[in-house]
Amino acid sequence: MSNSIKIESIQLLKDGHRLEFDIIANSISTRIYFQVEGAVLTPSAEAFVLMTLLPAMKLGSEIEIEEAVSGKLISSLPDIQSILRQWFPEEDLKKFPIENIPLKRENPPKNLKSATFSSGGIDSYYSLIKNQSEITDIIFIKGFDIKLNNEVLLKNSLELVQKIGNHFNKNVIVIETNLKLFLNRYVNLRIHFGVFLSSIAHLLSNRIRKVFIPAGDSYARILPHGSHPLLDPMFSSESMQIVHDGCESTRLEKLKTISDSDFAVNNLRVCFNAHTSFLTNCEWCEKCIRTKLGLLIINKLSNNPSFKKPIEIGRIRKLKLRPNIKNYYTEILYELEKTGEYPELCYAVSSILNQQSFIKTNRELMQKYLQRLKYKFPNLYDIFYLGNPKTKRLN
């Protein structure tokens, strides 16, 4: 491995409310900052390891760190790397050795607080409501779901999170960072989701000892993702417990649970496409449509200030569903059918669920046949292959 990734020039400013440092990767230095309100930051070796993990795996570099790192986190690193490599083979991530990282063994601190990440969405409301007797803080991140230059959306979202904090009597921690821009150079958000949130958790370790990361999927439907019930606990240390919370319920079950709280169901933010101060949600994207259908099923859509426009059947029929999203609509269809009241909606949802791509199906069929030819007529296969141009393999 040619280069190491290092953290340098660490500065804790403004009485611990601002942390800046350089990450040097591939001889390029990037200044990263975190700015916080509602807590103070702690430069954390565990956070630094997590932030540099994926760039190191992408570049085939080691992580160079002088401070001692939690033994628990270090012992999890081989498994974390195995998981990421197996789940995202297209990223060509490489394992790096961890022998040179100094270890520390901490005693878990007592009397610290618990927090959950919150964006005003269904998953975060569910985790907050479910664990509200334990949770003392909610964490909102500027520069994660919402770009730092989107001032209108940031202002609206922040107002909503402050409202949530006031309503549930929780301290609101607001963190602004440019870390996502750095990580996006190497892998997309879907992959660095978990390490991003966990590194923020570790930076708050002088106040927080346990952080809930709201789950996006249930046990039945979890797919490889940067935040996962297998992965998230591995980002923990002796003094910071990371919990992947909420896999026991499907999206619709979560909606039903949070609907006991009128506040929650009337202050939902599920998308970040609304660019006006008038709308909380854009009400056009697939996520908004999915949520509106869920609210309709539980009779909480009408007069809902978060969703002012009616459901448009024409819009539903134009949706193109990714495979990992189809499961949500299968559940929605089942529940819509049970109501017996919305045959047109059922028809629309059914038609998008059963979209058939003939081109894709035929291509897959051709590929299956051609794969055998690879071994009978290798030279001919080389001429006629229809595989991935990058790998020249079909499987």
Partner: protein, 390 residues
């Protein structure tokens, strides 16, 4: 839904030498006498073990579990999650959650450390991988006789027992041989792919008077995680404050495990992968499991060094082997290794033909169904008629 049935554990009898535990598991009026027998390590009467055995029958029959005594707090806290996972992973089983009646849950301090570590061991590839990887840490090999194969087949049972003990002696590890009829009982409710994790957890808790940790070798990889009785998410949930249960080996695929294991000549020549073996050979060389392992060994150029298969790998043998879709992922892993050598192309072709085979009747049926489903809501009457005819 209110539970109408109840499951009770009664007539618990631990012999004086503590090597045999017998008890009755009663589902309403039906009594199922069950036992566990250990060859050398004393067993512990454990409510956690009883619950691990009873959980699937309880969920299948919509029963409560009636139990006296304490239940470990960590175990008790994880039970709702375990049940949720079973419900979500196997919706066709229509499992119902149960409640523990009269639980006495104590938050125990962690007991005096018993520092022995056991690893479930059947001399297969996964077992050997976990054992060799963690050899320094492991004290005991836990062999469950009557787990993969019925105890009724005494010849195979004794032969397997001898092999495992021989392996234990070679590596200077104690072998805990457990016999039980619980597998046959649980198979009345679900197939072993669902219940085997619970059963291994039960054994761990029965041995928790000696063991502080039990490793369960994984048969899946992170890449191909799916609903399975032993799983990296599920296995640790069976742990208690005094017994850590860990799923091990998910980081490596079949080929990686074979490469690792075959570095040990002893392991290579004492592997037992076969579920059909009869006679004196470790492996029959004919069943799908043997074929799968032999092709993997061929791919890593170790087949000629392995003497445990009674038959040679042949293209004809491969052609005659039936591949279930559930094991296609293994062959997808093996193919890239096999094709590195052009002399293996005949094998590659046969494998490819089996696993890369489009099922045209199914495809046609799916396409037709997809179109018909839409009309369920436009023309419900017509849909019903058409559906019965397709």
């Amino acid at each position: 839904m209110a539970s109408m049935n109840s499951i009770k554990i009664e007539n618990i009898n631990l012999t004086e030498d503590k090597l045999r535990l017998e008890f009755d598991l009663k589902i309403d009026s039906a009594v199922h006498p069950l036992y566990f027998q250990s060859n050398n390590v004393p067993l512990k009467v454990s409510n956690e073990a009883f619950i691990a055995i009873a959980i699937i029958p309880a969920m299948s029959t919509r029963s409560n579990i009636l139990l006296d005594g304490e239940i470990d707090s960590r175990f008790s806290k994880a039970l709702p999650t375990i049940q949720t996972i079973f419900q979500q992973w196997y919706p066709h089983q229509q499992f119902q959650k149960f409640e523990l009646s009269n639980p006495i849950i104590e938050s125990r301090d962690i007991e005096t450390k018993r520092n022995r570590v056991g690893s479930c061991f059947s001399a297969g590839v996964d077992s050997f991988y976990t054992f060799l990887k963690n050899k320094e840490e492991i004290d005991d090999l836990v062999f469950l006789n009557g787990f993969e194969r019925s105890l009724d087949d005494q010849v195979v049972s004794e032969q397997t027992s001898k092999i495992i003990h021989k392996i234990g002696a070679n590596f200077d590890k104690n072998v805990i041989e457990m016999k039980s009829n619980v597998r046959r009982f649980l198979s009345k409710f679900v197939y072993s792919g669902i219940h085997h994790g619970a059963m291994l957890a039960a054994v761990g808790h029965l041995l928790s008077g000696s063991l502080s940790k039990l490793l369960i070798p994984s048969s899946v990889t992170y890449q191909y995680l799916g609903a399975w009785g032993s799983h990296p998410i599920l296995d640790p949930l069976w742990s208690s404050n005094s017994l850590e249960i860990a799923n091990d080996g998910t980081d490596a695929g079949r080929i990686q495990k074979l490469k690792f294991v075959s570095e040990s000549d002893y392991a290579l020549n004492n592997m037992r992968v076969c579920s059909q073996n009869k006679g004196t050979w470790l492996n029959c060389g004919e069943c799908e499991k043997c074929i799968r392992t032999m092709t993997g060994l061929l791919g890593i150029n170790k087949l000629d060094k392995c003497t445990t298969f009674s038959k040679k790998l042949s293209v004809e043998g491969l052609k005659n082997t039936k591949f279930k879709p559930t094991i296609f992922s293994y062959y997808n892993e093996i193919l890239p290794e096999l094709e590195k050598n052009e002399s293996n192309y005949e094998f590659c072709y046969v494998i490819s033909k089996k696993i890369h085979k489009p099922n045209f009747p199914q495809i046609f049926k799916d396409v037709l169904k997809n179109y018909l489903r839409r009309y369920k809501y436009r023309f419900p009457g017509l849909y019903k008629k058409l559906r019965t005819s397709v």
